[in-house]
């Protein structure tokens, strides 16, 4: 029982990391109808900024997160201006933009690899462990869960209660309809892209003390994020959050009785079954639309 509960805690922490990455990915798809291949690299850049801030500049971890937010805002703005917006405004632009984000992904990955090198880097996050009898959770994982929850709730409030959120949902439903009603569709899409980039960066900053920084970390995480987005429903915010956490929990719990590799096979099998039975995803109704 102790092991079950311990793995449940581990799974929620891992799943929250997945959820935060998948959230941005599904947001971009929901509002912009774009599959962003560079999303994993934004996650990696968020982690890299954390490394630079904490390890090389000696800034405390807590202060590094605002730096990550500002840096990723800038990254999102530049990528949107250079590789997304110029294509999205054209007819059938989403396809070209998909390819351009793929190019951006390769560019960022190769750039970091070339400048930084392949060496891993360790980041000291929040030290200490919270012990509850035989169970434990590292304070960093606790921060990841709590900060992640706060972000998701805050994001939901923005989406449901603010004018900007209403505009986002309008654009997600129909960009043409939104345009007719006077909404600046391009502006909303750009803001969405930047917001998703910042989310990925924050996820990187929260996860890097747990998993270490490597230039390949974005490529590894984005595959799971795509699985979550497909399972939760393309464009579904709560689908991404719930399926992200579920995936983490499922991975951890199945590892008690099965090899981790077998558990992964089950998860990818689940993705295939979901596509066959519910092509729009398990939770498609809760989308931004």
């Amino acid at each position: 029982m102790d092991l079950f509960l311990q793995q449940l805690i581990n799974g929620v922490a891992v799943g929250m990391g997945y959820a935060l990455v998948a959230l941005g990915l599904t947001l971009i798809f929901g509002v912009m109808h774009l599959i962003n291949f560079a999303h994993g690299e934004f996650f990696m850049l968020g982690a890299l900024v954390t490394v630079i801030a904490t390890v090389f500049l000696g800034i405390p971890y807590g202060f590094a997160i605002p730096i990550v937010i500002l840096s990723m805002f800038a990254v999102g703005w530049v990528v949107d201006r250079v590789a997304v917006r110029p294509f999205l405004i054209k007819a059938d632009g989403a396809t070209t933009a998909l390819l351009s984000t793929f190019a951006i992904s390769l560019l960022i990955h190769s750039g970091v690899l070339g400048v930084w090198g392949p060496a891993p880097e360790r980041v000291e996050g929040v030290p200490g462990v919270l012990r509850l009898g035989p169970l434990h959770i590292t304070n960093q994982n606790l921060l990841l869960i709590l900060f992640g929850l706060a972000l998701i709730v805050g994001f939901e409030l923005v989406l449901r209660r603010s004018i900007f959120g209403k505009r986002m949902r309008a654009v997600a439903q129909s960009s043409y309809g939104a345009l007719v009603t006077g909404i600046n569709v391009g502006g909303v899409q750009s803001a969405t892209f930047i917001m998703a980039t910042v989310l990925a960066g924050i996820a990187g900053a929260l996860v890097v003390p747990v998993i270490l920084f490597t230039p390949a970390m974005g490529q590894n995480v984005v595959i799971n994020a795509f699985v979550i987005v497909v399972l939760g429903g393309m464009g579904s915010i709560w689908g991404a959050v719930i399926c992200g956490i579920l995936l983490g929990v499922l991975e951890a719990l199945t590892s008690i009785v099965l090899s981790q590799q077998v558990a992964s096979i089950l998860i990818y099998g689940l993705m295939l079954v979901t596509l066959l039975v519910r092509p729009n995803g398990l939770l498609a109704r809760g989308s931004t639309r």
């Binding site: 793995q7 581990n10 799974g11 090198g117 360790r122 747990v210 270490l212 490597t214 390949a216 981790q260």
Partner: protein
């Protein structure tokens, strides 16, 4: 008629001068050595650094047969497809007759038929698969030890340290990991209370460490070639209060990069290897000092193997007196005895290198030390 004779003499003299010039240029052309590694990985990068240092030292002392040595480096990305492309480019485009490097067995096994068919000498650095060296392939040798060679020494050592306690193994999921876990289970039988694999790109080890902890293992062994993975596993073990009596890393994997990642969680970790920076011999002192001067850190096994590949090729060419006959040079490598940073290296009939028994090593105060046998 007189004019014709003058022209003929002038042409002959010109040809002689030109010929001499061409011969002189040929004599000065560098000897190219192809280097293949997964250069975008940490291990691949340091392997290249070792090879480059060998070239620096050889060229600084006059080169080989009066010619400079020149490296042509390509990335294999741990991919057999990219490895084959790299070697074909080395042979067809760069005119290379000597290739060294690589860490992955799959890549080495893929490129071996090409180097053999093209009569190119291949000195494999890191692959551990037994089929990398064969009696029938006259052109290939391997510097690293095989898993079976490691086991020959390490199994006894491991058994002694484990005693009758419960043991666990956490391993990466590839051919090396599978072989290691099979051998481990065979060695310890019922003492094995936990064995699981993780993916080569896995970054979170909370679940696997929690499972290992709950098994009650008194000795935990890790089979992982990625420093970020084994370093992180150790770190997580310590953070979550999992402190088994013994922690070991399977042979050939312990290095300072992982110790840096693991921090104090690496204290007491033991392993064994064919090389460690503190080996006492003249060449290793020079190698270590030059490497530390150039890269501000001590060289380790992969660096030493990268160095050794180029070093042995260069010595063999010098011994052959020419770089033309690759069959002769390959034969010289296989039958010779070579001074390298790890000591005297010899090859068996298959082309497998050996420098004697593995050295037991451990981590103390964040440094690698020789452990008592």
């Amino acid at each position: 008629m007189k004019v014709n004779r003058i022209l003929t003499i002038a042409a002959a003299a010109g040809a002689l001068i030109l010929g001499a010039g061409v011969t002189h240029v040929a004599a000065q052309q560098p000897i190219k050595v192809g280097v293949i590694f997964p250069t975008k990985t940490l291990n691949g990068k340091v392997g290249v650094q070792g090879a480059e240092l060998a070239v620096d030292m050889i060229n600084a002392s006059g080169g080989v047969l009066g010619r400079k040595l020149q490296l042509v480096i390509y990335d294999t990305n741990y991919s057999p497809v990219e490895g084959v492309a790299a070697v074909q480019r080395l042979i067809d485009q760069d005119g290379v007759k000597f290739v060294t490097g690589e860490l992955g067995s799959a890549v080495a096994l893929a490129v071996l038929p090409i180097t053999e068919a093209e009569k190119v000498v291949f000195v494999a650095s890191g692959p551990k698969h037994p089929d990398v060296t064969k009696e029938s392939n006259k052109f290939a040798v391997r510097l690293n030890s095989t898993t079976a060679m490691d086991a020959g020494f390490f199994d006894k050592y491991l058994k002694a340290r484990a005693g009758n306690g419960k043991v666990a193994i956490i391993s990466e999921n590839n051919d090396f990991g599978q072989l290691t876990v099979t051998g481990f289970k065979k060695l310890f039988g019922d003492q094995v209370v936990f064995a699981d694999f993780f993916a080569m790109n896995q970054a979170d080890f909370n679940a696997i460490v929690a499972n290992a902890k709950s098994s009650g293992a008194e000795m935990v062994c890790i089979a992982s070639s990625n420093v970020e993975q084994w370093g992180n596993i150790l770190r997580l073990m310590e953070t979550t209060g999992f402190t088994p009596r013994e922690k070991c890393l399977m042979p050939g994997l312990l290095n300072l990069g992982g110790i840096k990642v693991a921090g104090k969680a690496a204290e007491g970790l033991f392993s064994a290897d064919i090389y460690y920076p503190g080996i006492e011999n003249d060449l290793n002192s020079k190698f270590r000092e030059a490497f530390e001067k150039k890269h501000n850190q001590a060289p380790e096994k992969i660096e030493a193997l990268g160095f050794e590949g180029v070093w042995v090729i260069a010595q063999a060419i010098a011994k052959a007196g020419s770089d033309k006959d690759t069959a002769k040079i390959a034969e010289i490598i296989k039958t010779g005895s070579w001074s390298t940073p790890r000591g005297t290296v010899t090859f068996d009939g298959k082309g497998q290198a050996s420098s004697g028994e593995l050295l037991p090593i451990a981590v103390k105060d964040g440094k690698l030390i020789l452990a008592p046998k």
